[in-house]
């Protein structure tokens, strides 16, 4: 009997059909991969399973019995444990308290029996091979340890089904291996494990069956992974075979670098960073989560202090103390976190797209009219094919892809000479993603220097000209991109792991 079965679930949000007739079956004693591109509906499906969202139609059964959880609390009580992508720990509390957070006492006024909780937590820590004192505050743990604590927390609920949403995103490969060893043991104990990941290597490493979602529909429903190969899975995810990039390697422009870092060190922790981006060039910056890539971008923008080395823009030695100064130097930054850092969701499309040019468009008294801004950013938005009812539309109502287009558009409107693009394809559909890749190329062709940060190797190989590999807040090396996925990815991984081995 299946531990968890999702049957024909549909879910629509205003303007978007997020899930359409989706099914999935998880069995005890097996690890099940849930795959799909960003925006394919994975998170929505998890949220429906755990009761955060309500399905419009369809049903969910656990061990044959229909269940309908009203909230994560009920889901947990029903034996469905989830480890979410976001860190969901109370960092000031101890490890044991976090693991046992919902079982601190029978009722509100019960005393917390710390020794008992510590003992119980220690059991799970031991199971996870996590060698920390249960009374340690979570804030003192490493990211990987926190991840394990979250897993312990989900396990401690006697979960028969355990869903892990991108558990390895912030782990090093060796840490991931530890995690997999534990997952295998849990699997052997009969737990049904759902595993969401972008890293296909991991999926093939640990999973037995797979469900692939594409645009809110099943591209495959609980197929055995043994009979599939990597290309089959990729084809299901993106609807076509993974191509070796159709773009030819571009000729390197011989111009002088627009931005050049020389032995640059920052208060964020970067050490001796040297790299250069030329006009017309797309420089990729690759590294695992926590390697310091976004942090480097932000440091260059003036959000962290400079402690050594120098920054040259267009050959001139500069000090950048704020984003405003960076903008004046022609440097723009498309954030990976669109909602928190990229856009002002409360405001209109026009306000978001025009924010970088207000100063320039205003008259001597600082006045400016919507029409002025619209005439300036309108063509850019049009060129980027931003679909919006009107420029006055609140941007929070647009789809992820259109939002991303606006966050790029504002820098194009500002006419920046160097655009730093951080994870451009997070949470957007495939069509827009392809469009964005073309756009980045177009920008480069027209002479803009582009610094591309992405964790998606395929994207990197497809778009970048050269790839700087970063780890531990240092540049580990530079790989020329000849669009040969195998060669480039091996070279990049070699640079990252070479250091780890040493």
């Amino acid at each position: 009997m299946s531990a968890l079965q999702v049957s024909h679930v549909s879910k629509a949000f205003p303007g978007v059909k997020a899930l359409d007739d989706v099914s999935m079956t998880l069995r005890g004693g097996s690890v099940h991969a849930l795959l799909g591109e960003n925006g394919a509906g994975k998170s929505t499906l998890i949220k429906i399973m755990t009761g955060i969202h309500k399905a419009d139609s369809g049903s969910i059964t656990m061990e044959g019995k229909p269940v309908r959880f009203g909230n994560p609390r009920q889901a947990a009580a029903g034996g469905l444990g989830v480890v979410h992508q976001e860190r969901n720990l109370v960092t000031r509390f101890s490890v044991s308290e976090n693991i046992m957070l919902d079982r601190l006492g029978k009722h509100s006024l019960s005393s917390v029996d710390y020794p008992a909780i510590a003992a119980e937590a220690a059991r799970w820590l031991k199971l996870l091979d996590l060698d920390v004192d249960p009374s340690t505050p979570v804030s003192r743990l490493s990211v990987a340890q926190m991840q394990l604590v979250e897993i312990g927390k989900a396990l401690s609920l006697q979960s028969r089904v355990l869903l892990l949403d991108e558990p390895t995103a912030s782990l090093t490969p060796s840490e991931a291996q530890v995690l997999f060893r534990i997952l295998r043991r849990l699997r052997d104990d009969g737990v049904a494990i759902g595993f969401v990941s972008h890293k296909l290597e991991e999926v093939f490493d640990i999973c037995d069956t797979v469900t692939v979602l594409r645009d809110g529909r099943n591209a495959c429903d609980s197929a055995g992974l043994k009979s599939l190969n990597r290309d089959d899975v990729v084809q299901m995810m993106i609807g076509r075979a993974e191509r070796i990039s159709k773009r030819a390697a571009r000729s390197k422009p011989a111009t002088a670098p627009y931005l050049e870092l020389q032995d640059y060190s920052s208060t964020a922790g970067h050490k001796d960073i040297s790299l250069a981006v030329r006009p017309g060039e797309i420089l990729g910056l690759y590294g695992l989560v926590g390697a310091g890539r976004s942090e480097l971008a932000k440091a260059v923008l003036g959000l962290s202090g400079q402690t050594g080395g120098e920054i040259r823009v267009a050959g001139r030695h500069v000090k950048i103390n704020s984003v405003a100064e960076a903008l004046a130097l022609g440097i723009g930054y498309v954030s990976e976190d669109r909602k928190a850092e990229g856009l002002i969701l409360l405001h209109s499309v026009l306000a978001n797209a025009g924010i970088t040019v207000w100063k320039r468009l205003a008259n001597a008294l600082g006045f400016l009219r919507d029409a002025t801004i619209a005439s300036h950013v309108g063509p850019v938005l049009k060129k980027l094919e931003v679909k919006t009812p009107s420029l006055d539309q609140t941007i929070g109502n647009l789809s992820g892809g259109n939002q991303q287009k606006v966050s790029v558009a504002k820098w194009i409107a500002a006419g920046v000479k160097l655009l730093i693009i951080d994870e451009p394809s997070v949470g957007i559909d495939i069509k827009t993603k392809a469009y964005l890749h073309d756009l980045i190329h177009e920008l480069a062709e027209s002479g803009t220097a582009v610094l591309l940060i992405t964790s998606d190797l395929t994207e990197m190989v497809d778009v970048a000209d050269r790839v700087a590999v970063m780890d531990g807040y240092r540049i580990q090396g530079l790989v020329e991109n000849d669009r040969n996925y195998e060669r480039v990815s091996t070279a990049i991984m070699g640079l990252i792991h070479g250091r780890k081995a040493a």
């Binding site: 994560p72 947990a76 720990l89 109370v90 000031r92 009722h107 019960s110 917390v112």
Partner: protein
Amino acid sequence: MALSFTRIFDNDWVGPGLVSLAAIIGISIFQPSFLSPFNIFVLLSAIAVNMVIALGQLVIIGIGQMNLALGAFGGLVAISFVAVMELYGVPPFVAVIIGFAIGTLAGGASGFVIARTGISAFIITLAGLQIFKGINLGITEAQPFYGVPQSVKDFGNLSMLGPIPWLVLPMLIASIGMWYLFTRLRIGRYILAIGGNRTAAELSGINVTATVIWAHAISGLLAATAGMMLVARLQIGQPTIGDDWLISSFAAPVIGGAVLAGGHVSVAGTFFGVVIIAIITQALVLFAIDPFVVQIVLGGLILWAVGINRLRELRVAKLNERA
């Protein structure tokens, strides 16, 4: 050794505690009468009431909100407490229970509205402040009730043991109770968990609605306690009781190291925060400092405490980063 030394200094109450100690020593050198039994008695009476008030705000700070209606709760309970005794001849013991009930209900009601509607606590308690203060004025027409029984008066003005007033007793119970609540009781841990990371608390299966209501009800209960303690101390049911609680109710917890965003509070730190404010209030009187300057000093004190806390936070963050 060095490590444990820094550990001690990381405790919230150590800083304010040392400042209190230094202030007490300093003042008593210049003013030996500062440590006279009667002055200790007076100081403790003031500290007792203000500590309970500060605890009432502390529990709301812990959950990451603020309660502007604290004083209005206290005032309403104070006059109701005296009114039932004066008008209906209710025995003090029963009147105290009625007072507790009113405070808890008022707090619970405002917690209910906050939790169920999701409107910010600032707005709801601002409305609550108007409503409860309005009811207070409507009932009393701003006239005090005088019918405070002798037993209640005695409680507010007699000493329990040497220079220790009876008023210290409810403060001790409340302080130890709140300390136990925050460190040992499920509800206290849930309050801090929600203040520390609301999403995590929610996803972990904590009933946020119920916890918010609990926190506000506890706040109301403490405000009620403080209101009735003040009746005992002032020997009169003044409608103006509670009007001036707001500033000190925030100042003491903040001096004591509470994080305004929620999730971290210190009962001991708050106690020393109250002590520092009480000592400074006294010192200004003792050294005959121009009454016009008093406000300036109080404002400066809050800024100073905020600055110290900020520095400490930064230092702790740095330590964590290194570790």
